[in-house]
């Protein structure tokens, strides 16, 4: 292992020569290793810092960090945390450009050491570089770097600063393991690893029980999904004898199209995906996950970790293409989640809760994409969503940061995240205001922002798939298509409502407090600006032919690049699909082509944004403290359809009750009752035993010695 670690650093591991083509990887192992190094360094700093503040707590006080400026303990983490990310990002860019010029057809697998080898099962610690992992690496390190930078400003005053960066770096390490690993087993390492970091970061302020609870809930719900992932891996192993991507996908086509085995594999994987990517019925952890610091919500619970499920389905495109029932399930769950989460978002007042449900909803769209076989569209929306949703969360972070300081100045205990306490913030934070509107346009699907192209592609592909010559359930896909369109309109509504409540109208923060509202420092708004740019142009890399020819296409600025880039990944699935479904439809269920429906949807989205802007703008909004309780359906939505309560009643409480029953009745009652009964009987019958139980060590030692002597004595004869 030492030799192989050296190989990572010196030669970049050993690439399989025949697969490499013209592509020369440039220290790809370092991309994973750098965040790990960052974690170790920051971890040491965090422990030292923790010991120091523990001493202060024991002394009866707190470690005083409120010295005005940045505490000295924060300097090194500020350099290491974002520093390793920048280096990792630059390395990824180098590899990406090299791959761009290489046109490789086969993935490059670089093996470092044998992770597990039992004799019949072998899996290497190896990374796989291909078009999909490269896109994911770009998103993870790029967006990750920006969020690390933002955190330097956002977490400035936090006493857990070094620990924060340690966790964040560790997260990136596991996330890169997830997207770069060359087998399902390694992906699972990253899969549970990011779950661990999510747990640690949601419960970052662990002294608050509610936040610690949220972290725990995330971990446990995720593990429900993880069992699905495990079982799918087991099925792959007994079928193919391996869980390596290259080998599995090579042999996958021997499976019967629509067979129960491949359907089971795909569905079990999707159970895992539904856990990690917060889909019905396992989405409940994600809204609670907002208890973590806001940049964490941006990085983990919007841009990267929660998209791991989409990455998994896209990665396994061959398996899902072979299982139309699984595909229909994925798309169905996705579209239902998109609609369901959007309805909840309509009535939330916590700015992060709106964004959380919005994320659940958008993840639903991504699953619709990969569910209808439009794998590149799903990955495309994953990417644009990473830009605009990270921007929205970071913007919300800037707002909360400002609100928090405003309330801090008057020692008020009002909720800094409640939009009813905001209003009119555009005057105080213009950059945040502008950039968040850009993101809102993007997520609402307004031309020519990024989300327009990616979401429209998914909705269109749903129609096209349903209208294919041999489509399995054409009516079902028509329903999906209608729901997807409707949810898009809801998106435009709740996002505009959020923007108006936050930035427009009159300020409701409080007279004294509002004087302390301010724009975020440059270290925070600079990442916003970068992400805003990406939220505009990010969609231009994948504009389909039929739209590009029209005025919606922006001429030479756009291309269908991503679709072609991912072809080596999706080709096999596309082939299977073409062979079994025939040609995809060129018109929507109710007529009209791709261009027409793109136009209709963007016009509708603009209309919804405009109407909502007027409607919410004219509404009288009162601060949270004075607000009245909701009634009727609005209350149901505000309380998230009471799903958490339902789960508590039907799953959590019965399990707890059964646990107590097992302990008190079966273990302590029945089993121990029998055991003690036997014991007492034996005691009553055999007085010999009572003779032995003198309680004196000497007696026991005597008996022991005699026993040994007897045995030794026998041995002489």
């Amino acid at each position: 292992m030492h030799a192989s670690l050296a190989a990572v650093l010196v030669q970049g591991g050993q690439a399989t020569a025949e697969a490499a083509g013209h592509f020369e990887p440039f220290y790809p192992g370092l991309i994973i290793l750098l965040p790990l190094i960052g974690f170790l360094l920051n971890g040491v700093l965090a422990l030292r810092h923790g010991v120091a503040s523990a001493t202060a707590v024991r002394g009866g006080g707190e470690l005083d960090l409120d010295t005005g400026g940045r505490p000295a303990t924060h300097t090194l983490p500020s350099l290491i945390g974002p520093g390793v990310m920048l280096l990792a990002f630059l390395l990824t860019v180098v590899n990406f450009t090299r791959m761009l010029g290489a046109h490789i057809e086969e993935p490059v697998v670089i093996s470092y050491w044998t992770w597990m080898a039992t004799g019949t099962f072998t899996v290497d610690a190896a990374i796989q570089l291909d078009q999909l992992s490269m896109i994911m690496m770009m998103v993870v390190t790029g967006v990750g770097f920006l969020i690390h930078v933002f955190s330097v400003g956002y977490m400035k005053a936090d006493s857990g600063y070094p620990r924060y960066f340690a966790y964040l770096n560790l997260f990136v390490f596991f996330m890169l393991t997830l997207v770069m690993g060359s087998s399902y087993a390694l992906m699972f390492v990253g899969w549970e690893g990011v779950g661990l970091c999510s747990y640690l970061l949601i419960g970052f302020w662990f002294s608050d029980k509610e936040k610690a609870d949220a972290g725990k809930k995330a971990f446990i719900v995720n593990r429900i999904g993880d069992v699905g992932f495990l079982v799918a891996m087991f099925l792959l192993y007994v079928t193919f004898g391996t869980v390596d991507f290259v080998a599995v996908f090579h042999d996958a086509e021997t499976l019967a199209y629509g067979g129960s085995l491949v359907t089971a594999i795909a569905l079990f994987f999707f159970l895992g995906a539904a856990g990690k990517s917060a889909q019905i019925p396992l989405y409940v952890w994600l809204p609670d996950a907002m208890a973590g610091p806001t940049p964490v919500s941006a990085l983990i619970h919007a841009a990267t970790m929660v998209t791991a499920g989409v990455n998994l389905v896209a990665r396994s495109s061959v398996l899902f293409a072979l299982a139309p029932v699984a595909g229909a399930t994925v798309a169905g769950v996705g579209v239902l989640t998109a609609l369901f989460a959007a309805t909840i978002a309509l009535k939330q007042n916590d700015i992060k809760k709106v964004l959380a449900y919005s994320t659940v909803s958008q993840l639903g769209y991504m699953f619709v994409g990969v569910g209808v076989g439009a794998y590149s569209a799903g990955v495309f929306h994953l990417m644009t969503h990473a830009f605009f949703k990270a921007l929205l969360f970071l913007g919300a972070g800037a707002v909360i940061h400002s609100m928090h300081e405003a309330y801090h100045s008057t020692h008020s205990h009002e909720d800094a995240q409640d939009m009813r306490n905001m209003g009119g913030l555009k005057a105080h934070m213009p950059i945040t205001w502008v950039t968040m509107w850009i993101a809102t346009f993007a997520i609402a699907g307004i031309w020519p922002f990024a989300g327009f192209f990616s979401k429209d592609e998914i909705i269109w592909q749903t129609a096209a798939f349903g209208g294919a010559t041999h489509a399995p359930y054409p009516m079902l896909y028509t329903v999906y298509w209608v729901i997807a369109l409707a949810a898009a309109m809801l998106t435009a509504f709740y996002m505009t409502r959020m923007m108006v409540m936050t930035f427009h109208g009159t300020n409701r923060t409080g007279e004294e407090e509002s004087k302390h509202l301010h724009e975020a420092p440059v270290v925070m708004w600079a990442p916003l600006a970068v992400l805003a740019t990406l939220s505009v142009v990010g969609g231009w890399i994948n504009v389909p032919e039929s739209i590009r020819e029209s005025f919606l296409g922006l001429g030479p600025l756009t291309s269908e690049w991503l679709h072609h880039w991912l072809e080596p990944i999706t080709a096999q699935a596309t082939h299977i699909q073409a062979a079994n479904l025939g040609e995809l439809s060129h018109s929507a269920p109710v007529g009209g082509g791709e261009f027409m429906w793109a136009l209709i949807s963007t016009v509708l989205a603009i209309a919804v944004v405009a109407t909502t802007f007027r409607m919410v703008g004219q509404k009288e909004i009162v601060p949270a403290a004075q607000d009245v309780e909701l009634t009727g359906f609005a209350k149901v939505l505000y309380n998230k359809w009471y799903v958490d309560e339902f789960y508590d009643r039907v799953i959590v409480e019965p399990i707890l009750r059964t646990s107590r029953f097992f302990w008190k009745v079966i273990d302590a009652g029945i089993i121990d009752g029998v055991v003690n009964g036997v014991g007492w009987t034996a005691r009553g019958v055999g007085f010999v035993i009572s003779m032995f139980q003198t309680g004196s060590v000497n007696t026991y030692a005597f008996i022991l010695t005699v026993g040994v002597l007897v045995i030794l004595g026998v041995s002489i004869f």
């Binding site: 019949t120 609870d213 725990k216 069992v227 087991f234 107590r660």
Partner: protein, 549 residues
């Protein structure tokens, strides 16, 4: 280089004897020392023993499936009892785990043991000698002596240095296990007489007993006798209720040894005796199903019971039963992956659960309570202790990248190969592990630091860091690089499985004796089939649950 150095000192010739007799010699040193210095003598002595045992890693030949470093001395000639030792891929890591945990446990007891330290530490060393003996004896009588010998020091460790209900716990522990092993003794004697009749000379040698042909019915009865003894030790549900009591009452080092190695004697017995000696019974569908059902119940049921324990130590004790369930599941999968996985769980559980008991002991020394509700917010005053605990807890619940994952994953994978339904149900244990462990971690280390007593909790001392550092390092190292361990176990695991497969009902009906002279012995009841026909109507295969085509 290390190999040639070991060779030059004749390492393989004396090491196993040294690992048994040095601790016994150490007892003398400890008893001879002052009460205050006894702990230092015991620790340094056990540390030397551990360092000596490290050579096994290199001296062990990973390509060899059978016993290595064997030595044989006649002991009770008239009974055919010999003092013979040897290790193979199954016992290698158990021996190393024993020497390692012994010195760690002794170091971890420095502040805990206040009364009669000399007696305590000499018993710890006696226990170490006994357990090493169990794992390295190749004579079944010798094995039984060691097996019983371990009961005695453990009984006193719990009964004298334990908590309030120590007498109840110690007697329960003693009676439970003594009852189990008495049945095994009957089984051993039956084997002995059978062997004597067939071979013409008395012998307890493991290798000889392996050659004794047994009918299917005999195998089933003997299997039951042995299985009961070992199942109590593991413990397998429903024979587990002695364990939580013993753990709660035992002093920290007792709990560490109990969890780390004593339980492993049970699953070691499965691998050493049940599978090779009674291969027909071990693959009998009813037997396999029974064992798997008990394993799965152990995994799920005890996880649920653990989740509602108010006493942190009792919680961890119950989780031990769940972990050992994975071992039993892996073993009775009767696949390479299953056995390998089970063995890794044994190692991993030894490390992580041992560490959990040490950590809980450290908390107990500080707060004199084990009730979860008495804690809260400890992370703020003891960040190092918290970090070590969280890492250990994660390894315990099988997070990938730690040793716990490798073992559970392989055991489940192995079980899935032959028994899909059981493997899938057992996989749910992954969820319930989080369900019992995380709330405990939260209530102890997170939440508000709202109790004044907890504010005064000190973080880890240097000695405690020295204890925990190697444990944490091993959890991660095995998590990322288990291959060197797996390759050392593989030949033996294969040999055990081949033996089981060879005894499949369609296999041979006579057995070749390999005592060098290659004598073919016709069994006394050569005409009798190895397995009763009526016991064998459905094949042990439910692999066609989900068809591919």
């Amino acid at each position: 280089m290390i190999n040639s150095m070991l060779e030059s000192i004749g390492y393989t010739g004396w090491i196993l004897h040294a690992l048994i007799w040095m601790p016994i010699l150490g007892m003398g040193l400890v008893l001879w020392a002052e009460e205050e210095t006894a702990k230092h003598v015991a620790f340094w002595w056990s540390a030397v023993v551990f360092v000596l045992s490290l050579g096994l890693w290199w001296a062990f030949d990973p390509s060899e499936a059978g016993m290595q470093m064997v030595s044989q001395t006649s002991w009770i000639a008239s009974w055919g009892v010999s003092y013979s030792l040897g290790i193979d891929g199954i016992s290698l890591f158990m021996v190393m785990l024993t020497t390692f945990s012994s010195s760690i446990a002794i170091l971890g007891s420095f502040n805990y043991i206040k009364v009669r330290p000399r007696a305590f530490y000499s018993l710890m060393l006696l226990l170490e000698a006994g357990v090493v003996g169990v794992f390295s004896a190749t004579d079944v009588f010798l094995f039984y002596v060691f097996f019983e010998l371990t009961l005695v020091p453990m009984y006193f460790i719990v009964g004298v240095w334990g908590g309030e209900r120590r007498i109840y716990a110690a007697i329960k522990f003693f009676l439970y296990t003594a009852f189990g092993s008495l049945l095994m003794l009957v089984g051993i004697l039956y084997l002995f007489y059978k062997a004597k009749t067939l071979l013409g000379f008395p012998t307890f040698a493991y290798a000889d007993l392996l050659q004794v042909p047994l009918t299917g019915t005999e195998q089933l009865w003997l299997f039951a006798a042995f299985a009961l003894a070992f199942s109590v030790k593991v413990p397998v549900f429903p024979f587990h209720t002695w364990l939580p009591d013993a753990h709660v009452e035992a002093p920290t080092p007792g709990s560490v040894i109990l969890a780390a190695v004593l339980l492993k004697m049970g699953t070691y017995g499965f691998l050493r005796f049940l599978l090779p000696l009674f291969p027909v019974a071990a693959q009998h569908p009813t037997v396999v199903t029974t064992m798997l059902v008990l394993a799965v119940i152990g995994i799920l049921y005890t996880a649920w019971v653990a989740a509602v324990q108010p006493d942190a130590k009792k919680l961890v004790a119950y989780t031990s039963v769940a972990h050992m369930g994975f071992v039993v599941l892996g073993i009775f999968a009767l696949t390479v992956n299953g056995l390998q996985g089970g063995l890794v769980v044994m190692i991993s559980h030894g490390i992580s659960t041992g560490a959990l008991f040490l950590l809980l002991g450290m908390l107990y020394e500080r707060r004199h309570t084990r009730q979860i509700a008495d804690f809260g917010g400890i992370a703020r005053v003891a960040p190092l202790l918290t970090s070590a605990f969280v890492l250990t807890a994660l390894a315990s619940i099988g997070l990938p990248g730690t040793s716990g994952f490798v073992g559970e994953f392989l055991a489940l994978l192995g079980a899935f190969e032959t028994h899909r339904v059981f493997a899938v149900i057992a996989s749910l244990g992954v969820i319930f592990a989080a369900y019992y462990m995380l709330p405990m971690v939260q209530k102890v280390f997170f939440n508000a630091l709202d109790k004044p007593e907890n504010r005064e909790i000190e973080d880890l001392s240097r000695r405690e860091m020295v204890i925990l550092a190697p444990l944490c390092a091993l959890m991660i190292w095995i998590g990322w690089n288990p291959t060197p361990i797996l390759t050392r176990m593989e030949p033996t695991v294969r040999a055990v499985l081949e033996r089981v497969e060879a005894a499949a009902p369609s296999g041979q009906t006579s057995i070749t004796l390999e005592d060098g002279s290659q004598v073919v012995i016709a069994p006394a009841d050569a005409q009798a089939p190895l397995v009763d026909p009526e016991l064998n109507d459905d094949p042990p295969d439910d692999a066609a649950v989900i068809d591919g085509e």
